[in-house]
Amino acid sequence: MIQTNKLTKIFRTEDVETYALNEVSMEVKRGEFVAIMGPSGCGKSTLLNIIGLLDNPSGGEYYFDGTEVGSYKERQRTMMRKGNIGFVFQSFNLIDELTVYENVELPLIYLKKKASERKEMVTAVLERMKIGHRAKHFPQQLSGGQQQRVAIGRAVVANPKLILADEPTGNLDSKNGLEVMNLLTELNREGTTIIMVTHSMHDAGFAHRVINLFDGEILTENVNEKMADIL
């Protein structure tokens, strides 16, 4: 489903050039659950953003479902991303001025779904995230765990093939973190491909495979033994 070939990302600021990614080649198959790990600043978020079509690589190729998308313009990336990729962030990234319901509804609006359809889908997702009773609340009225469940709800409401999660448990205590990991695992079981950046070995344990990044390069890739049989 995802294949990169010598993917490179260079950030230029004034006179410093940062190689955030240096010739990263990797592959993720449909249905996989992959964790990306590595020290801070090694390029994990950068890689995730490029995979998520939020950003362009400076070099190399990126195939999404067989199509080269690394050179896509912003418009094309947006079209490709819509409905196909859902995001979950460490800091939840909910819109404070919108209610829980409206936050989850957001991707459907940009997919131009009808209001009745939207209502059905949002209600279903909120139920599933066990947050239905909070539909009319604003994000700041919720706990961190609840907020992240809303964010996951928003990521999955349009039934994307791929979910990208950047340290989804980073701001949560272990109980809420576990809940989030269970949700992601469940989604993966149902067939959603998941790529997750994490600092936690514990969380990485939920993935089938762990990619270790260091200074913008893939250091090792190891298949999680516990999970290997599932593959």
Binding site: D55, T78, F87, E97, L106, Y110, L111
Partner: protein, 796 residues
Amino acid sequence: MLFQYIFRNIKKRPFLNFIKVLGLALGLSGVLFISLFLKNELTYDSFHNKADRIYRLTYTNPGIFGNNHFARIYNSEQVPDLAAHFPEIENYARLAPLRGGVMMHNERYYSINEAFVCDSSFFRVFDTELLVGNKHTVLEAPGSMVVSEAFAQKVFGDESAVGKIISLPAGQFYARQTDFTVKGVMENFPQNSHFHPDLIATPAQDEISWWAYTYLLLKEHANPENITAGYSQFTALKAEEFGGESETKAYLQPITDIHLHSDKLREIEANSNMTNIYVLSVAAFILLLISMSNYASLNLGMAGFNNKFVTINRILGSTRNMNLKYFFAESLFIVLVSTLVALAIGVLVNSLIAHHFGIHLFRGNSSFIALVVSFFGLLGILSGLQPVLKQRVGQIQQGKQSLIKSNKIKVSQGIIISQYIFAIGLIVAVIIISRQNRFVLENSLGAGHKNIICFESVHANVQQKFEIFKSELLKHSSIESVSAMLEPPGGEANDMFPFEMEGYSKAEKERPNMIGVFPCDYSFAELFNLDFLSGNNFSQNNSDTEGSGEFLINETAMQFLNYNNPQEIIGKEFRLISPNPEVTVPQGKIVGVVKDFHLSSLKKRVEPLVLFKRDKLWLLNFVVSFKPGMRQTALSDISSLWQELFPAYPFIYEDVDVLYKKVYKTELLQARLLSIFTFISIFISSMGLLGISLLVSQQQTKEIGIRKVNGAKVSEILAMLNKDFIKWVVIAFVIATPIAYYAMNKWLENFAYKTTLSWWVFALSGMLALGIALLTVSWQSWRAATRNPVEALRYE
């Protein structure tokens, strides 16, 4: 400590603070100049020491001149008796205009704009400094003259004027030459005077009589109404002497009211009016509101954005009054800087105005300027305190209910909407005033042709040679047509004669049996391209002998004479009765009816007018039209002929367009000033809106990023960001339209003939306002919408 912190905050957001200063500075300079201009307009003629006691006397009489209200009186000879009759009158000064347009010195003629024969009491009523001579004695002797500094300079150069002889040459107005001796030189009358004489002189032989502008100096605390009310008794008393004029009504108008409240016939100079004052006051008020509200709304926005309160409190310790202190100090600083910038702009603009218009608005007004500046500064500081004041009010009102949205910038929709109400209103006003100005100029007789010039009020000796002047000029290929007429373009055709017409009986109607007359050369209709509704122009060889005279009448005259069909009135016998036995006027037939033309201001209705031709009678103004593109040749042809025929007389002409522009100078100035202030207002509002959009989009950076991550296209983000601004402009449009419609309708009431208030003017203004608003916010919105969402979400 406090100021250090203020500087740091200002440095942090240089652009927004620049906008604040610029908005206030432009607002202040605009308000300052309008106030100075208005002060100048409102203090006309108040430089006379006794200004509060000087009144101008005027009359109306239904039996004389069709009840028209002239600025001067026709029976000025009775004024001495009047002054003796009413104890309220302390003194009087009559100004009888010297006609003919030229004065003579050493066999050279010098053109004059305004000159009067006056009473020797002139300087006891009016005040102007004498540079040479003694106010009390200078006009004592008959035939004494006082010339203005400028006129003295023109005639005598650096030589002393005193003792020189200046003569009023003989001509059609004066049977023989009159000599005056210059006894003094006076300062030019100040710009804010309703008259500016080149010279004044006491009568040499005769008493002042017939037409004269008449000013009465009343005693202290005297009531002018005693005179106006008692006037009929006075006339009754004098009935044997002057004939029974029981119908005459007298009016006394304070001299200080003339400039703004007088629009009578034959004013000495075109006056301004209150509409002008209202329009500019509104403009100043709007400018004030806009610059204040702009500053307030930017301050509100920035306060919310910076979370200033929190930071301030943390750094400076959280006493309750610290916020107030901080905002006060910051406002004071911003206002001070703005004032300095405004004064710099002011000095520059002032010198420009002084250079181009000779009006020194700053001179002698330092305390007034200080007053305006401090008033503006106080308001500015108050506006700067808005965030604190609002916060306090908010705390009291709603406690801590709205915690959720506390991070959101408080954009003052009300302020933005009202700014756009003003912007749209101003744009409407500018368009309509400009359109009306164009309308009046285009519809004026002969205007817009760009190739007609006029020699105004030429001397009788010049008039005598009109036929030669005409026939010689027509030999040149550059000249198209030559004519002459009683009044110049833009003048007032007020003269009326009694008349008789076949089939017209005066008994059946109340109206006086008088009609406006307009002697002109036979090429008049051709030169000005008059539209004939029926009949023909005068015949070229018409020799106005008894019975064969020819008359053209305008459409209004036809209706006045009770005809509706222009064909039917052709050939009717018509006769004018000369009020003066020395002047014979033609009798004959009506030969043509022309569509009404606008020789005079379009503010007034066209009056019934009879055009006739009479050799050498009252052809005071020469007009010449030349072929397109041959202006230079034509002018040199005319000039050389003039030197040949009239070497002693000044060669002074004016484009017809310029003459009309003089008639509408107030309106044209109004349009110009209003466009400038509209531009400034819109500029300030746009800067403010730019600042607000900057704050809004900065504040929404995260939201925009989130929306983009979730599939929003750039266009959708743009729509989201601009939606509110569009909504506000639309609301402003809905509110502004009826107000502007009403106001402009009122303004147009000044004119008898006007353009229509077309709907598209409003639509255009709305679209313009919307366009400007969108252009302003779109730059910022576009930057926000195209920003990489990754960046937006990176720092949270």
